[in-house]
């Protein structure tokens, strides 16, 4: 499976996600600078990496969300291509409007950098098919602005439609209903604050993240 990683000024997990994708798919991802306007042909996944694009100026992800490459990402997402936003990538996806809600400063104002327990809420999506619903997994988080907010109607809708992919199994950042990752209505866009790409090999202290990419590979096809 060919994949693309979007690189913004200030991305800092682009290499991590590239290594994870290459390990699982066997193909080096195309690294796409945010100033480009076209995506490579034949890709099975677009990944928006973690980091601090534009130094988090204005709002996290706000300026990156207005990059030249975004129109191509939105068009691809509308066609059903899987799009994965991790950490800053999740913030960018909400700023684009591909995912609802917003990510605000953590409750307590602390930068949270540790492994956290998550519950897999939806094991049916292209991203989560290798997990069991209700399964407990451990991913790393490293963020200052991961406090998910949306109005209560939207939160009800997300829960009712099975669009909460992952939930924190502990209090991490004040997120509404402990939401750690959400899907778009079609299920092909996932945004999450925790980092699956940091749990790929045993040396990372766990391999729970690897199945997310293996599931994608299986669903999207080689």
């Amino acid at each position: 499976m060919k994949t693309a990683v979007i690189v913004f000024p200030g991305s800092n997990c682009d290499r991590d996600i590239a290594v994870a994708l290459e390990q699982v798919t066997g193909v080096k991802p195309a690294m796409i600078w945010h100033g480009e306007t076209v995506l490579p042909d034949g890709i099975g996944l677009i990944a928006l990496p973690g980091g601090f694009s534009y130094g988090d100026y204005l709002r996290c992800g706000a300026i990156a969300a207005r990059s030249p490459i975004i129109a191509a990402i939105v068009a691809a997402a509308d066609r059903g291509l899987p799009v994965l936003g991790i950490c800053n990538g999740f913030q960018v996806l909400t700023e684009i409007g591909l995912l609802p809600g917003a990510l605000m400063r953590n409750e307590g104002l602390d930068f949270v950098c540790r492994d956290v327990a998550l519950t897999v809420e939806n094991a049916q999506s292209a991203f989560t098919s290798r997990y069991a619903a209700g399964e407990r997994v451990s991913f790393s988080v490293a963020h200052h602005d991961g406090n998910y907010v949306a109005d209560s109607d939207m939160l009800d809708r997300l829960e009712g439609d099975g669009r909460v992919a992952f939930r924190y199994a502990e209090r991490v950042n004040g997120s509404a209903r402990q939401i750690a990752g959400v899907l778009n209505p079609a299920g092909n866009v996932l945004g999450m604050m925790p980092h699956p790409e940091r749990k790929i090999e045993a040396a990372h202290g766990g391999t729970d993240g690897r199945r997310l990419f293996e599931g994608l590979l299986e669903t999207v096809g080689a």
Partner: protein, 76 residues
């Protein structure tokens, strides 16, 4: 033309920064502070013939995230 754009959190949106400022004020011994909400002031210098529509669009498309924020345009 000089503009001040005030970006504030919508009522009901939790404001951890405002809370921390509130706590710090309490810590300094200032009593009677009922609530603190933190926002942003963005100053723009735009061409005199910039339309109201364009200014409003700048706010909606970039300066404020209307999911969580309100904005107010003040002409200096």
């Amino acid at each position: 033309m000089k503009l001040s754009i005030f970006v504030t959190l919508k009522p009901g949106v939790l404001d951890p920064q405002g809370k921390a400022i509130h706590k710090a004020l309490d810590g300094l011994g200032f009593s009677g502070v009922n609530d603190v909400r933190a926002g942003k002031l963005i100053e723009l210098d735009v061409a005199d013939d910039t339309s109201d529509t364009a200014i409003d669009e700048m706010c909606r498309k970039l300066l404020a995230n209307t999911v969580i924020e309100n904005y107010r345009i003040v002409r200096a």
